[in-house]
């Protein structure tokens, strides 16, 4: 480093929050004794304007080039003071926060002296680290102001129209022949019972007419490369064997085609021709030949005539698009309960799913709107609607599918209004869930129309082989006994499940999925539309099941979120990223690429024979690669090995055997520790915490160094497995690394309780405090002598392991 560090330490009283426990005067005095500290100042409220002004003044007056603020959690005010030092002309990354409130005054109020000692260590660690900081520059990447939308259901349609109206170009990639999604399959929509296609159809047409939207239908997303603002997307357009432009959508070809096949759009209850559209309102209105069924008689070619729209030689076509953001709106699938023998689905003719019923009631459906039984074509006189088929079942789909209560109420109302007293309708339910606007009122309407509600679970369904009528045996929870219902038709409200292909799309986009299989949002409350990948957003049922109004809202929300990127000429990237030193990278000589494999974001490319390289804009700064690299070729800016080791050394300078050195990840365990502080859960003072962004950053060398220096215990705190990690899977990589390390250390004679990996969420303040109490008990039980003896025994090996490290 060229210039000598000149450090200013600013100790905050935080009113009495800190000063009430900690001897801030002694602390400030202590700070002045630390190397390179030129000034240490106390302030009542450092974050208030006068406090900030004090810092700015001191920087100028004392010509400071490093700043430590000893106050609250960096999770609270790090951005504030970055701005402060920047205003004083200093690089914002030349400042560090010493958290003496959440980690000292608040969690050790009854032992002020010990708390003060701990605060001193915390400041010492911060000073040690800040000395090694280097100025960093926020990067900017240009933004392509076009969006890619994957999935053209009602959610995707809403996003597309909003973005297009804002003036952005939108590519809408739809896997099926037509946009519209499930809503286009429905008859009427709750709670107002308007005709589904009548309200969605015009929107679909708007999409096709909008000058800013290009529909790429019957197509698949093959690959996505790049990063926020700069995605490169490969798409395969599947051959329809009918050319979009000359096809007038008149459908004469459909008339002459001899081949019929089951229409999936009609849930395979009706048929369509080998050349056809799935439904008459399809958008785009371009016919498609299903080659699985076509016999190549060319009757369609003949009738198409001079239009020459049919081309049997069409091949799949790959195109490449450049976009700035990607919105995923791929919706859901329906669970087909073939595997659950209880319901007899697929076996009994008169057991159908709710979506099949939608197609039966629909006037344009395969029966022209007549609800008739498959067995005899007759209208059923009694219908039993069974709820939660597959949903809310820990052995199947644990979650509630959200809208089935409402669609079954809708079906009851429709049946009652259509067939009046000619039909008896029963709903067999566990809980009736009718929150949201107008839903409870709709429930009443169903009741008033004479629907029979029975709270209970179906336990058995039997078919009369002659009449094909069904007997539903159920547990009536209200009566507490078994009842039997005679039904001419049974309708199953089956679970909705993640769309087929969700796993593949998740892989292509590097987006995570939750335990339920749906795409995972970046934060369940505050970022319900974002994903962990910058520039990729979610809309509609693909993120979790939701009805139409909610899907539309989220679609519009996704458009707004995407616009925050698309409306910028450039996008800023935090410089806390990983960088590879090509001279040290061993991939040049031997096949390695470990970093590329471990990076949760696919941000590293390591082609054979070449040094690995990090795509800065894709790196999220977890540091997993840094810890994994076998030749220490990767550095994480602002969290370098040298910087972290300097904290470790500072923490363990005195009485190391009494200390627990904790590496805590910023998002879960550090936040959990903060919460222990804010909730004033008291625990012993032995912990010295090193904050890392992700537990994946924790290098084995850090543990070796800590033990070499004599640490009493070492703790690695991470987010819960498997899905809580803020960086997708940093905790998974950490676990693999630490499991192996723990085994090795134990073999070498380390008491297992001295090295722990714990998973603490941001909500588990109590757990964090308890964990500390427990560890301190164990520390006491082990005794200083035993710890020292173990450390002596370990030392030669640790020294050997660390010998290759220069820092």
């Amino acid at each position: 480093m060229s210039e000598e560090p000149r450090i200013g330490v600013f100790v905050c009283h935080c009113g009495l929050n800190i000063a009430g426990t900690i001897d801030v005067e002694a602390l400030t005095e202590y700070a002045r004794t630390l190397p390179d500290v030129v000034v240490a100042i106390r302030n009542r409220y450092t974050c208030a304007d006068p406090g900030q002004e004090e810092i700015r003044k001191a920087i100028k007056e004392h010509n400071l080039n490093r700043v430590v603020v000893a106050a609250c959690s960096p999770r609270m005010h790090e951005p504030t003071f970055r701005r402060t030092v920047e205003e004083a002309g200093l690089n914002p990354y030349l400042y560090e926060m010493a958290n003496i409130r959440e980690f000292a005054s608040w969690c050790h109020p009854s032992v002020p002296e010990e708390a003060t000692e701990k605060a001193k260590d915390i400041v010492k660690m911060a000073v040690a680290k800040v000395r090694l900081f280097r100025p960093l520059k926020t990067m900017e990447v240009p933004v392509t102001n076009k969006a890619l939308l994957i999935g053209g259901g009602i959610a995707g349609i809403s996003t597309a129209l909003d973005l297009a109206d804002m003036g952005f170009r939108v590519y809408l990639v739809e896997r099926s022949e037509s946009i519209g999604g499930h809503m286009a399959q429905l008859d009427k929509t709750f709670p107002t019972l308007d005709c589904s296609i009548c309200i969605e159809g015009p929107k679909m047409v708007d999409v096709s007419r909008h000058p800013n939207i290009e529909i790429i239908s019957f197509a698949d997303v093959l690959s996505v490369e790049g990063f926020v603002g700069n995605f490169k997307v490969k798409i395969r357009k599947n051959p329809r064997y009918v050319l979009g432009d000359p096809c007038t959508g008149g459908g004469e070809c459909r008339e002459v085609c001899p081949i019929e096949f089951p229409n999936e759009w009609d849930m395979n209850m009706g048929v369509r021709k080998a050349i056809s559209v799935p439904f008459d309102q399809a958008v785009p209105l371009v016919y498609t030949i299903n080659m699985d069924y076509c016999i190549e008689c060319y009757k369609c070619v003949d009738i198409c005539g001079a239009r020459q729209a049919i081309n049997f030689d069409q091949k799949p076509e790959e195109i490449e698009l450049e976009v700035g953001t990607i919105i995923v709106a791929t919706g859901f699938d329906i669970y087909m309960p073939y595997d659950d023998k209880l319901y007899g689905y697929g076996e009994y003719d008169n057991v159908i799913t709710a979506l099949e019923l939608e197609r039966l009631i629909l006037a344009a459906g395969p029966t022209g709107g007549k609800v008739v039984r498959a067995s005899d074509g007759k209208k059923p006189k009694s219908v039993v609607l069974i709820q939660c088929v597959g949903s809310r079942n820990v052995d199947k789909y644990e979650y509630c599918s959200g809208y089935c209560c409402m669609h079954s109420l809708k079906h009851a109302v429709q049946l009652k209004e259509k067939y009046k007293d000619d039909v008896e309708v029963y709903i067999l339910y566990i809980d009736m869930r009718t929150h949201f606007k107008g839903y409870e009122e709709f429930y009443r309407r169903a009741r008033e129309l004479g629907t029979n509600f029975i709270r209970g679970r179906a336990v058995h369904i039997l078919e009369d082989p002659q009449t094909k009528n069904l007997t539903v045996r159920a547990e009536d929870m209200t009566l507490g006994e078994l009842i039997e219902l005679e039904a001419e038709l049974v309708v199953l409200a089956t679970a909705s499940i993640p769309k087929s292909g969700t796993d593949e799309l998740a892989r292509i986009l590097s987006v995570t999925r939750g335990a339920d299989g749906f795409f995972m949002e970046s934060h369940p409350k505050l970022k319900p539309i974002d994903t962990a990948v910058d520039g990729v957003f979610l809309a509609g049922a693909c993120q979790g099941l939701k009805d139409i109004p909610y899907s539309v809202s989220q679609g519009s929300g996704a458009a707004a979120r995407a616009a925050t990127v698309l409306s910028q000429p450039t996008w800023k990237i935090e410089p806390i990223i990983a960088r590879v030193n090509p001279d040290k990278c061993r991939n040049v000589r031997v096949k390695c690429a470990i970093c590329a494999k471990k990076c949760p974001y696919g941000a590293i490319k390591a082609p054979e024979g070449q040094a690995a390289e990090v795509t800065a804009a894709m790196c999220h700064g977890c540091g997993t690669c840094v810890a994994e690299c076998p030749s220490d070729a990767i550095t994480q800016m602002h969290f370098t090995d040298a910087q972290i080791l300097s904290q470790v050394r500072a923490a363990l300078e005195e009485n190391p055997e009494d200390k627990i050195l904790g590496f805590l990840c910023n998002w879960c365990s550090y936040a959990g520790a903060d919460l222990a502080g804010t909730s004033r859960h008291e625990y012993p003072t032995n912990l010295r915490a090193v904050r890392v962004m992700c537990s994946g950053r924790v290098d084995r060398d850090f543990i070796f160094e800590a033990l070499k220096l004599g640490a009493g215990m070492v703790l690695v705190g991470a987010c819960h497995l498997p899905f809580d990690c803020h960086y997708i899977s940093g905790n998974v990589a950490m676990k693999a690394r630490m499991d192996a390390l723990a085994k090795m250390l134990e073999k070498l004679g380390l008491s297992p309780e001295r090295f722990r990996v714990e998973y603490v969420s941001a909500a588990e303040g109590v757990k964090f405090a308890e964990l500390n109490r427990e560890m301190c008990e164990q520390l006491k039980a082990l005794g200083k002598e035993k710890i020292k003896a173990e450390n002596e025994k370990l030392r030669p090996m640790l020294e050997k392991m660390l010998s290759r490290k220069k820092t």
Partner: protein, 307 residues
């Protein structure tokens, strides 16, 4: 109701069914009629039909090959049923017997030209009925008001009686046995397949008469004094059941050169034709009809994407 596929097989019948909520489809093979000739397997566009050889049991007559249908592949187009020489296959939609591909002229029907001039018939003759190996003919004598007469001798005014020859056309392979047995020259039959069949006796293994065993038409093949099978082309219907079982490569050659069928312009038919005849004969067939226009249009369609 979700879609169901069903399959049923008895000694006499095999059927596959696709049942939808609103419609059902079936393909039925009458196994008593099927000769294992392989024509359906060759022309099925979805390779849903498999003709399986049965192992030969020493000392027993060779059995003809049997048919199997894959219900998942079959989509009930009716191509097989429109060309089966023996009428063994039937496609039904909602229980009604249909030829979907024939209705749209995507595929032809075989033309079975069978003309019987029963005014020539002697009221006591039943030669054709006896001659038909497939028992498709029923000869009856009727009074002017259409009543069937059981005992002709009991009727005095024999002049007014009328002979009715009823042929179940849809099952008839047009072997012409009846025509040749008819003493009054009352029957005229045109074969729907024409072709060449040739046995190279020198290649036939000793004592083999597998082809003869399976031939559905008596007299089309016969054992001559040299102990080898020979052909009488007059009765051969060119179904090819013999070729399927012939164990010796090149011993039996069969080629269809002409197919008598309803006119169609169809790519599917051209493909089938290619399989039923050779390419050389396809050209011949097209030329014979004088419809080079069709050939060109087909060619144009095939080449569409190239230019």
């Amino acid at each position: 109701m979700p879609m169901k596929l069903e399959r049923n097989e008895t000694d006499k019948e095999l059927s596959v069914r696709r049942i939808l909520h609103t419609k059902n489809y079936s393909l039925t093979v009458d196994k008593t009629l099927c000769t294992g000739c392989e024509i359906c397997q060759a022309i099925c566009p979805k390779e849903a039909i498999e003709i399986k050889m049965l192992p030969k049991v020493p000392g027993e007559k060779r059995k003809h090959a049997t048919i199997d249908v894959d219900g998942e592949k079959c989509h009930f187009c009716g191509i097989c049923s429109s060309l089966c020489p023996f009428g063994a296959l039937k496609v039904r939609v909602n229980s009604e017997h249909v030829f979907p591909v024939v209705k749209t002229e995507s595929f032809p029907e075989l033309i079975r030209e069978i003309n019987v001039n029963s005014t020539k018939c002697d009221i006591k003759c039943v030669d054709c009925e006896k001659a038909c190996p497939l028992e498709l003919i029923k000869v009856s004598v009727q009074t002017p008001d259409g009543k069937t007469v059981k005992n002709v001798d009991s009727i005095r005014d024999k002049k007014k009686l009328r002979v009715v020859v009823d042929v179940k056309k849809e099952f008839c392979p047009c072997c012409r046995l009846c025509e040749l047995k008819c003493p009054e020259d009352a029957i005229r039959i045109k074969k729907f397949f024409q072709g060449i069949i040739h046995i190279r006796q020198e290649k036939c293994p000793e004592d083999c008469q597998d082809c003869l065993d399976v031939c559905p038409i008596p007299g089309a093949l016969f054992l001559a004094d040299d102990g080898k099978v020979h052909v009488n082309e007059i009765h051969c219907v060119y179904c090819g059941a013999c070729r399927v079982v012939c164990p010796e490569e090149g011993a039996l050659e069969l080629q269809r050169t002409r197919i008598w069928h309803t006119p169609v312009r169809s790519g599917a038919w051209n493909k089938a034709l290619e399989k039923l005849t050779s390419t050389k004969d396809l050209t011949k067939e097209l030329q014979k009809k004088g419809t080079t226009r069709i050939r060109d249009s087909v060619k144009k369609r095939f080449d569409l994407g190239d230019d």
